[in-house]
């Protein structure tokens, strides 16, 4: 069923009884050409692009819970492409371009809103670093704008400009950045992939791999064995656990990242704002809640919940730039499990096991990467060679010394 103003009007006239399921609920077949493990944004986007761009339609997405119940439902919904290093810049800009046409491509309202993102800077050195980042973006054809204090004060008059320790001296703006509705992205890809013939199988946890002469030939699941020509993992947060079933040990640690939302208030924030002297980012949802987050808790975790020191740190960052939010009540708080790679950059590559593919290590940045991750991973699985915009996200880059360390922290995943 195609969604449009006419389908809405028709349904309204018939008491909204005519709506059909957005995607089927099939039983698993005995074999697929490609199985994607993980029904989050990345897994569903991969299945969608496999079917749409690469003509591989005998595809299943296996999800242990319900689709979008992992990190796709636990992020802060920010989209942006303000990266600096070769390998990242082109990839995230590809993603931004796919965000810009996503709703038309999917015939689904994913509420992509290019309300802009402003990264504040608080020292001369940080301004220089942001100018360099902005220049790197503009060289690559991405919009970036360096703002001074007066311009920031005009756009964001409610910030705290009386902070002598971390004065707001300006910001780097990407006007095309913004937010999208995280659940709708999952549902949109699921519906579009389903329409192209992809089977989305929920409550189906992969418990092992079938191998013949070393090559992956299928998976064992809680709903029985399923054969496959190729298997792709898209299970960020649990990558090490799934990969261990194939005997792989990866440059990834699982860490908990918390996010927060306040009670709904009237429109306040025009876009996304980040605090450069601590680690704090905030936006306002269309419903009115202030959505914000900061640093990782810092210890390995699979628990999907965090602790008080990280909450305190995030709230202190918020109070430093927006003291007014101290008057707003916190409505909800949650934790997601991040696949922290050793250089802060993702991995989209083949594995040493024939027929098994890896999409992992998304650190903080998985949500904004969803469309490009799907497209480039589908390319890799379909063609057995990396997509040119993801050609540096290789698994062997650590051994080769070709890490892509945007933050310059080295092999300490909890600091990326």
């Amino acid at each position: 069923m195609k969604y449009s103003i006419f389908s809405l009007a028709r349904a309204a006239l018939t008491g909204h009884r005519g709506w059909t399921r957005a995607w089927r609920d099939p039983a698993p077949k005995s074999r697929y050409d490609v199985i994607i493990i993980g029904g989050g944004g990345h897994g569903l986007a991969t299945a969608y692009f496999l079917a749409r761009e690469y003509g591989i339609r005998n595809v299943a997405v296996l999800e242990k819970g319900w689709i979008g119940s992992g990190n796709a439902g636990r992020n802060t919904t920010i989209i942006r492409s303000n990266y600096m290093l070769p390998g990242n810049v082109g990839f995230y800009e590809l993603s931004m371009k796919l965000w810009e046409r996503m709703e038309q491509d999917l015939n689904y309202n994913t509420m992509v809103s290019q309300r802009g993102i402003i990264n504040l800077y608080h020292s001369d050195a940080q301004r220089d670093a942001f100018a360099r980042r902005g220049n790197s973006m503009r060289i690559n054809g991405i919009d970036a704008e360096l703002l001074d204090a007066a311009q920031i004060r005009k756009e964001l008059p409610f910030l705290n400009y009386a902070n002598p320790r971390f004065p707001i001296m300006g910001g780097l703006a990407q006007r095309r950045g913004g937010t999208a509705r995280h659940d709708a992205v999952v549902w949109g890809y699921a519906r579009a992939a389903n329409d192209l013939g992809v089977d989305i199988i929920q409550n189906c946890e992969v418990t092992g791999f079938q191998r013949t002469d070393g090559r992956i030939t299928g998976v064992e699941t809680t709903r029985g064995p399923i054969g496959a020509g190729k298997v792709g993992m898209a299970v960020a947060g649990n990558t090490s656990r799934v990969a261990a079933m194939a005997g792989l040990r990866l440059p990834v640690e699982s860490h908990v990242l918390q996010a927060f939302v306040t009670e709904a208030i009237k429109p306040l924030l025009p876009g996304v704002v980040t605090f450069g002297a601590g680690h704090f980012y905030i936006s306002q949802s269309d419903k009115g809640g202030l959505v914000f987050g900061g640093d990782l808790d810092g210890y390995n975790s699979y628990a999907q919940r965090g602790n008080m020191p990280a909450m305190e740190d995030v709230c202190e960052g918020g109070m430093a730039i927006m003291p007014m939010i101290g008057r707003v009540r916190l409505l909800r708080q949650w934790g997601g499990i991040m696949d922290m790679s050793m250089d802060g950059t993702p991995i989209i590559d083949k594995t040493p096991v024939d027929g098994l593919y890896l999409n992992a290590g998304w650190c903080y940045g998985g949500f904004k990467a969803t469309p490009a991750s799907g497209l480039t991973y589908a390319h890799l699985i379909a063609r057995d060679e990396p997509h040119h915009e993801a050609s540096r996200f290789r698994l062997d880059r650590f051994l080769r010394g070709a890490t892509i360390d945007e933050k310059g922290q080295g092999a300490q995943p909890n600091l990326h």
Partner: protein, 102 residues
Amino acid sequence: MRIACPFCGERELGEFSYLGDAAPRRPHYAVDDGSDPVKLAEAFHDYVYLRDNVAGTMREYWYHGGGCRSWLIAERDTRTHEFKSVQVAPGAGASVTSPAGE
């Protein structure tokens, strides 16, 4: 999470910093007498970059910077955050050939 420091008693998490998995051991600078540079590179790659990323009880380094400033080794369940034990870490960062302390 609260951590029971062997010197200071149970203290809140904010006093501690985390280093990570205590399992990796720095390889000797000349793996197999240094005759095979590939093996040497692989051994250091494994030490620096690869992790078991345990889902379950993990031995890990904590630093009590807000207290006695001791390095500690804790056993903690990464699925529940429950601490099983906390001990002083002798020879933190020791190499395989000079396992100081332990």
